[in-house]
Each structure stands twice: as C-alpha cells, then as structure tokens.
C-alpha cells in the first residue's frame, strides 16, 4: 500500500497515512485530486479504479470514505477486506464508531492503524490481538500519566 486517506463527504481529511516519501506539496496535490475523483463517483460504482499508475480501493462507511492506493501487483479484493478490518477495529475500540470519534480522537485512530498495518502491509491478522495490544499500550500510557507526566488529552 502506498497510502491511505480518510475523508468526509465534504472532502475534509480525517486521517492520512503515507508509506512512500513525498513532499508536503505533492501529498496535498494527490489528496486534492483523489478526493475529488472519489467523491464524484456515484454510489453504485465499483470500489476499484485506476488512477495515475496506481489502483485505488475505496469504500464509504456512513459519512467517511476510506481510500487506499495500492500497486499493480497488489490484490485489491483483499485490500477491501483490510479496509473493512480497520473499520471493525475502530468500531470495537470506540464502541459503534462514527466520524466524530475519529475527528476528536485522531491520534488514537492512528495508533490503531499502526498496530494493524506496518509499512503498508498487515502485521496482525487477528482482530483480538490488535485490540489487545492497543489496550496494553493505552494502559502503559495511563501508568506514565500517574507517574506525573501529562496526558495527551
């Protein structure tokens, strides 16, 4: 996977994970174009499209679009499953997740993503294990909080 973007129907970016090095300017340009392209698609259109030299896999969940860019040799069908798995993880963590959860807890959304994917590939295929790791890390954060450091809040 080269990158993953989460954005709303109004085109507001909610999360961006880049697995390739690009300048800020390039990232902004890509984001703008891709968001435009995906938002222009009608509901019944296919979840896959070709864009520049990449394959784009996207799925809409309520008011959020989850959009991944993969390379030619990658499997787009399993990428759809990856997106779904990520949504399930968010859902389990936040308890019936909605866009607002991701807006207000974006750093947690990143933490969860980073326990699920690494370098653009799935590092853990068990939902339970990903959630367990996050739980433990959160606990560790709590502990360091009680040891006098400030929480992120």
């Amino acid at each position: 996977m080269q990158f993953m973007l989460l954005f709303s129907r109004q085109g507001k970016l909610r999360l961006q994970k880049w697995y390739v090095p690009l300048s800020d300017k390039e990232k902004k340009k890509i984001t703008r174009e891709l968001v435009q392209t995906v938002l222009a698609r009608k509901p019944k259109m296919c979840s896959f499209l070709e864009w520049r030299d990449l394959k784009i896999v996207y799925k809409r969940y309520a008011s959020l679009y989850f959009c991944c860019a993969i390379e030619d040799q990658d499997n787009e069908l399993i990428t759809l499953e990856i997106i779904h798995r990520y949504v399930e993880l968010l859902d389990k963590y936040f308890g019936s997740v909605c866009e607002l959860d991701i807006i207000f807890n974006f750093e947690k959304a990143y933490f969860i993503l980073d326990e699920f994917l690494l370098g653009g590939e799935a590092q853990e295929t068990s939902k339970k294990n990903v959630l367990k790791a996050i739980e433990q890390a959160d606990l560790l954060q709590e502990v360091s909080h009680h040891e006098g450091s400030r929480f992120v809040d």
Binding site: Y19, S23, N75, F104, L118, Q123, Q141, D153
Partner: protein, 727 residues
Amino acid sequence: MPAPIRLRELIRTIRTARTQAEEREMIQKECAAIRSSFREEDNTYRCRNVAKLLYMHMLGYPAHFGQLECLKLIASQKFTDKRIGYLGAMLLLDERQDVHLLMTNCIKNDLNHSTQYVQGLALCTLGCMGSSEMCRDLAGEVEKLLKTSNSYLRKKAALCAVHVIRKVPELMEMFLPATKNLLSEKNHGVLHTSVVLLTEMCERSPDMLTHFRKLVPQLVRILKNLIMSGYSPEHDVSGISDPFLQVRILRLLRILGKSDDDSSEAMNDILAQVATNTETSKNVGNAILFPLLQTDHNAVQRHRSTIVDCLKDLDVSIKRRAMELSFALVNGNNIRGMMKELLYFLDSCDPEFKADCASGVFLAAEKYAPSKRWHIDTIMRVLTTAGSYVRDDSVPNLIQLITNSVEMHAYTVQRLYKALLDDISQQPLVQVASWCIGEYGDLLVSGQCEEEEPIQVTEDEVLDVLEGLLVSNLSTPVTRGYSLTAIMKLSTRFSSVNRIKKVVSIYGSSIDVELQQRAVEYNALFKKYDHMRYELRWCSTHSLLTGGRTRSHLNETALPTKPASAGGELLDLLGDLSLSGMPSMTVPLDAESAHSDRSSRHAPNVSLSSRAGIPPMTAYNKNGLKIEFTFERSNPNPNISVITIHASNTTEADMTDFVFQAAVPKVWPQSVVMTRPGGGALKRTESDSFLKLQQQLRMRIKLTYTYKGAPVQDLAEVNNFPPQSWQ
C-alpha cells in the same frame, strides 16, 4: 503562563469557526501560543502541544516548527511522549526533512528498550518511513529482532526488514539466516509478515527464489491447515479462516511455482482444493481465488477440461462446485469455448442452479465479451432459455449494458421484439424487452438494422404487443409497470399518440395501485406538461427498478427541477439575517402532491401529535396555505432532530407548482438535512452532535406556487421553534 488548552478543546473550538478566515485566525493564535511554549522548553505540555499541532497539520496548516519537538518527545522516557513523538515523526519528519536523521539514535535505543511497546513504536516508525541511511544504520538491530521469540516483535521486525530491503536491496543477504524457521511459527501475525518478507526476497533475487523453493511443502501444509481446520473465531472472516494469510501464501506459491514443474506439481492439489473449497459469494472468497488464477501455468487451468466435464456429473454438489470453478476459470482466451459449455449447462441444469448460472454468465460475458454482438446474443440466449430464473437485479444491469452499446440498439430491440412474439411468460425477458421497445421503438419501426435482416413492424403492431403484456395473466405487476411506461415513452416516438393516450387513461382506474398511479401521472403529463413528455426519454433506470415508489422517477426527470441558481435566491433570502454564507436547500415538492392534495383541501384532520415531547408548531399560515413542522428525535442519533414539513391547502382551488425553500443561518453549518418524501437526503451531515448550539434556531422560508392561474410568492421568517427542537 496559563496551561495550554487541551487538544479536544482546541478541536472543538476550531470547529465552531464559521469561515475559513475565522479558522485561520484561531489557528494562528494557537500556533503562536504553541511556539512560545516550545521556546520555554516546557516538558510538561510538549506532548499536548505537538498533538494540537498535528491536528492543525491535518487541516492543512504548516507545522514544521514542531519537528524538533517531535524529536524531543521521542527522546523522552515517558510512553505518552514517545507515542505522540513517533506519530509526529511519521507525519512531519519524512526522509526529505533535514532533521530526519537525528531520529536514528533514538530509534536505535528504543529498538533495545525493555518495554515491547516502545520497541514496537520504533520498529513501526522505521518500517514506515526510515530513509536509506537510517536503514543501513539500524539493519542489524532489525535482524536481531527478527530472531526473537517474542511474536509481537518478530512480526513487526519482519515488515521492517521488508522496508529495509526495499530501501537498501544490498542488505537483503543479511536477513537470510533469520528466515530459517520463520514459517514454523504458529502465530498468524508472524506467519503473515514472514510470507511477505519471503515474497519480497524472492521477487528481488532469482537466487533467493531458488533457495526458498524448498519451502513449498511447508507453505502447502500451512495452507492446508487453514482450509481444513475447523472454525477459528480469531481468524475467521465470513467463514474463511485468515484470508489475509491465505492470499499471501498463494501469491508466494505462484512466484515459487513459476517455471518449475516440481513445485507446481506439489501445489496442484492444494490449489485445486482451495479453489473448490472457497465460497465466492463474499468478496473475501474472491480475494483468495484472485491470486490463484493469476498464475500463468496454473494447475487449475490445466484441470479445466476435467472441471467442465464435472458440469455433467450426476452429483449435485459436484455440479455446483464445477459451475463455480468454471466461472472462476473464465478469461479472455477461453470465453467462447467456456460460454458454450456454460450455456449448455444452463439449458439442462436443475432449476436450483439456473439463477446463479445466469448471473455468472452475465458477469463473465460483461468482462470478457469478444464483441458487442456476441454479448447481446449471449444475453438473449440466457433470457430466452432461463428467462424466468434471472435475478431481479440483472434486469437493471442488462438495461444499463444495452444502453451503453449504442450501435447495437437496433439489433437488440429487434431481437427482443421477436423474442416477445414467441413467448411472454419469462418476466425478466419481458421487462428488458419492454424497456428496450420503449426506448428504441423508433429504430424498430424504421426497419434499420445492420446486423441482420430488418423486420417490418408497424407502430400498431408494437403497441399491440405492449398492450398484450398489460392484459396478459402471465405478466406480473412489475412487468405491467414496464409495459405501461414503455407505451408512454413511445408517445414521443410514434405518431399514434391518441391510441397511447387512450391506453393510459384506461389504466387510470386500474385496480392495481401501482399501475393506476403511473397512469394518472402520465395522464397529467399529457394534460398539463405536454412539453415534458420528452423528459421521459431519459428516465433513469434505477429509480424505476428499486423497490421504492415510482413517484421518484417522475420527481427526478419529468418535473422542472430548480437550477443551481436557486442558491443565489437563497442567499438573498438570508440577506438580513446578517450571517455570511449558507447551504442551499431547496425542496421542490412535486406538483403532483399538491394536485392530489385535493383530498385535503377541506381542513385536514391530521393530528400532529408531539413526539418525544417536542410540540409541533405552525411555521406559516396565510391565504389558506398552512405549513406545520413536527419534530422527532432521530432514531439512531438522538442529537438530531428531524423536522417534517406538512403543507396543507384549505382553499377550494388547487395550489400547483408548489416550491418550498428554506435557509438557515450558517451557525448551523451542516447540521440541517433536508430530505424529500421518498427519501434521499439533499445534504449530508457530519452528525455535528457534539456542538451545543447556543443560538436560537431561525429559518427563513420562501414559498412559490400557482393559485387560480396566478403565481404567488411569499417570504417568511420562522422564529418560533420550540427550544427542545434544537437544544
């Protein structure tokens, strides 16, 4: 200096900004505060400030002055700091930044930290965005971790190694020893990432590939276990055990098996087994078959003739597997041959297979059709031989397909017409045919057809056939609907308009409510909107075919929809509510509802009960037009109030061309959604339930309608919203 504001507080505040300028101002103010806090080298709040910076960065604002702070956070001993620090690094410190390399030492230390979650953070960061130099420096640490027995770290190390290899291919060799017993792990995470690592190595080096060929039996064994083992809740996805791992293994096997007969042989059985065992009804099943079939000389294609023969087997379950597999095997090269077999199978198979087979044929035809004519012929064949088993959703798809094959329209409509002459019992066939005749009837009677001998058909003959469908006992109500609409459409293409008018008016009193409704609406088109009959030509197929009310297609195509300039009018509407910008929300209630409101023109006795304790209110009451709002808390999200608008006409005459427009001040940016009767929100919300709105909800409405031949327009402000509706 007071404590810097909290992250969530900042997010909340920024979201209240009503304009881009206001947002920018807030951001600048906060950035200034953060900058001075950074200057003071404040350890306590660094984490909070960087987090806020990351949020603002996501909104598109510059954040490079936070780069060094991320480094400081990473170097901190506190886990909270490290977590945010590494996140910041991944977002702000990619390899193009000068200070990127400064991370190296911190990462090195953290890779050796006593807490695995810290090690995890370091591995993740390195694996996502480590530069070549960094990778060179730290490859040794990664290699060490690749050999650890801690599966949490081992899986991350494997993917980190993949990144290192991608950045610095020469380093690949050093990871070889560590790969020795990667596949003997039980942990799926490690297995998955190991397979990814092995794949990367094999793809890059033919030597590696040869070396790893000996792993084929082991991979096959793992795959076998995944398929054969019982249900494992931890790894199950729609009945398939760890599809992610299966897909990856298949991909590796494909690479290892390429141009090597021994390996291919060893894989044959398991590939065929995966193929037959995989349920393709869900995406996940197809995801697995996908890499399977990408293999060039793959085992399954070799078995193709066997599989096709199995279509004739007596055993039902074998037939089903064979059918599913056959569809999976179809490609551009074998489509003609395979399709022959599959169509033959369709003719003779048990009814329980026909629906799936028909769907499969359509899909395959769509993907690999060698020519448009072949495609249409194939569809015709399915419709005529298994027409009554075709799934309902195939009909709109077929219509879409036919629409898109412009040059085949004449040929298609001709063939479908001929098919109708033979048999009108198969509903999907009849529906598609009716639709086509409605659309392309002019081509039919003009006798233009390039593909084959054109037939001589008169307008009356065509109408005879369509009317025949209307009266036939064999036609379902849906089919009748199609026929009636087709007849109506022909009124713009044929000259025998009077005959069509007669038919339409007869059905205005049909017992079938659906038909009656359509007929009445079409009648209205004849009477009042004659110029719009031509709009029916472009009827969207979807609105006709989704189970919903047929009103919707008339709403969308036949009525004059207010153009986008309505937005301008609404801006005026808000003029002196002295608030900038507004969402344009127009609900042109279709003229028909005002028309049929004839029944309610005697003071309606609609009891507008207050639901959920929010009293209804009268928004407007003038000249016999009364508009009432009722409120309801939205079921899934009680922070959303749903306002239903009831418009009633208490005078003796009709109010037609009724248009209701509403505008709210921008303080309610995206929290007001207008929906039409029949569903379909005009504007999505982002469930802004978090904001407690301080301002009273106000709305300005504009009404236009025609009354006794004269246009009427009125503006009104609605201020009397009960507090419970918006608090």
